[in-house]
Symmetry: C2
Subunit: 313 residues, 2 copies
């Protein structure tokens, strides 16, 4: 039996997973992300940890197909990372470096959002499909486009940056990207809370959201919407509208079999999916025969799954 290793490098911890080539997760563990001195210890920590786990389990080098790695920033096709703000990395090739530290083991790498999408295709909400688009609704809105089982990383690392698609003309605040009216400003956890605060400030309508004050979270908004609060329902509708519009735009570009919705906000579940679907259909009436919308299944493990899958393609 061959194994593969998935590595998901985050700003606080590095998640690691040991998989079979068939996609079974045999073990997972974490190491802290040491960001000091430009993140120079991250990869040696990772390599030492992998070597120890393989030794402890008595897994020989010959039975490991390779290791894949998700990096929180743009990764060029040859593995080069120009800058990775979250880790302090600059002008390096982490996949070459890690391969060297692992005595020449095959190492592949990709942007973490794209890699998570590959994981959901392999063993998650997109299992059984070859063409999926993942939308991760977290602090921001991330994405990953997988066509024919391969990541569309893009020629400048912008592939799957769908959170920054412009959807709202009447927006006035700026997004982190410098744009105005990105879907991330509305449908991220931060965006949903902001929409709710705007709605409350703009009206005197009683709302069960008011008890949370300025500390209101996306989860609070979704919970109150599910409980029937009119103002919260308006926010959920707005979120569904702009996500549905963005998904329609993406469907008319790459036409996947499935959209997989993940990230913390996706815990709102079918309630959210229904609102997205309504507007997705509205904004792509050209055909009813198009990609379905469903929920992600791997949660925080999507990254290690997808990283391991990188090695197999």
């Amino acid at each position: 039996m061959k194994h593969c290793i998935g590595i998901d490098i985050g700003g606080t911890t590095v998640k690691l997973g040991l998989f079979t080539e068939e996609g079974e997760l045999l073990d997972k563990w974490e190491v802290p992300t040491r960001k000091e001195e430009g993140g120079r210890y991250i990869l040696s920590d990772v390599a030492a940890s992998i070597k120890k786990v393989l030794a402890d389990k008595g897994i020989g080098r010959e039975s490991v197909a390779g290791a894949g790695m998700g990096v929180p920033g743009p990764v060029m096709p040859d593995g080069h990372v120009e800058v990775c703000v979250n880790l302090g990395w600059r002008d390096m090739n982490p996949q070459q470096e890690l391969s060297r530290l692992l005595d020449g083991l095959l190492v592949k790498s990709g942007n973490d959002a794209n890699v998570a999408a590959l994981g959901e295709m392999w063993q998650g909400g997109g299992k059984g499909y070859t063409d999926i688009v993942m939308v991760t609704l977290g602090t921001g809105v991330g994405g990953g486009v997988i066509i024919d089982e391969k990541i569309i990383a893009g020629k400048h690392g912008l592939g799957g940056e769908i959170g920054h698609i412009h959807v709202r003309d009447e927006e006035w605040e700026h997004c982190n990207c410098g744009g105005v009216g990105c879907v991330e400003q509305i449908a991220s956890a931060t965006g949903i809370a902001r929409e709710a605060k705007r709605k409350m400030a703009a009206s005197d309508v009683p709302s069960s959201m008011r008890k949370y004050g300025d500390g209101i979270t996306a989860k609070d908004v979704m919970d109150e919407a599910k409980a029937g609060d009119a103002l919260a329902l308006e926010v959920a509708e707005t979120v569904g509208r702009y996500l549905g519009m963005m998904l329609a735009q993406v469907a008319l570009t790459v036409d996947p079999e499935m959209f997989v919705i993940g990230g913390g906000v996706s815990r709102a579940g079918q309630f959210l999916i229904e609102r997205i679907e309504k507007y997705y259909d509205h904004y792509s009436p050209i055909s009813q025969n198009k990609g379905k919308i469903g929920l992600a299944k791997l949660g925080n493990d999507a990254g290690i799954y997808g990283a391991a899958r990188l090695v197999l393609s």
Copy 2:
């Protein structure tokens, strides 16, 4: 030397081209598209014409790698065409059929807009690149997405249907697709003329466009804009704005090396490109390092070039 044949099936004529595998066009010719009886004679006319040309030139069967065909409608990955309104075809597999008529020659097929994009990548405005998106500004707005030298046709034939991406919320008329606010409603030849008529009707400002009356064309609008007419310049700005927005959305999804702008409206040239670029940058401020925008080069021959190229992949 190996040859390949490109076939571009249109509603009035079928264009054919004989190419070398290196992409040199050796000869091109046309046959009428006989649409009677559900288009049943189209493929036999094409086959007879190809056989005659090859015989006349003394090109033996063994030196022909195959024939590619662009079809004006959605084509499934296996070549199946459910319905092709323009030709009267229904539930058939034209690539299998043509292969049979050509005694088993390799035949591949694809949607005509996607195939034209492949042609521009091979020998046109996108030559030298592997990842391009073509935007054809004709009666409608068509598109084709090429990643890694392959067409992204999509799982339901919607890949590259970028003319129907929603861009304008305040639109009220319906597009042919059933949608409201598609980029085709603004940036197609028809759309540009409509925008100009709306502008003229909505104001009393003198304009050199008024002399054309209701028969004004997209070319008239662009010509008057280049000549400095204020109202026509506003129309050109609107066209650039929504095309730039759509290109930014597509760049944030598949991030090509180049956008190639073709179709009749693209004859406005650099004047149009500059207006698109301005808004493309505005709507994707996340990075300056992204796909360039340029003009198509093959005109009406893009279809036969791309069809021939289909055989080589």
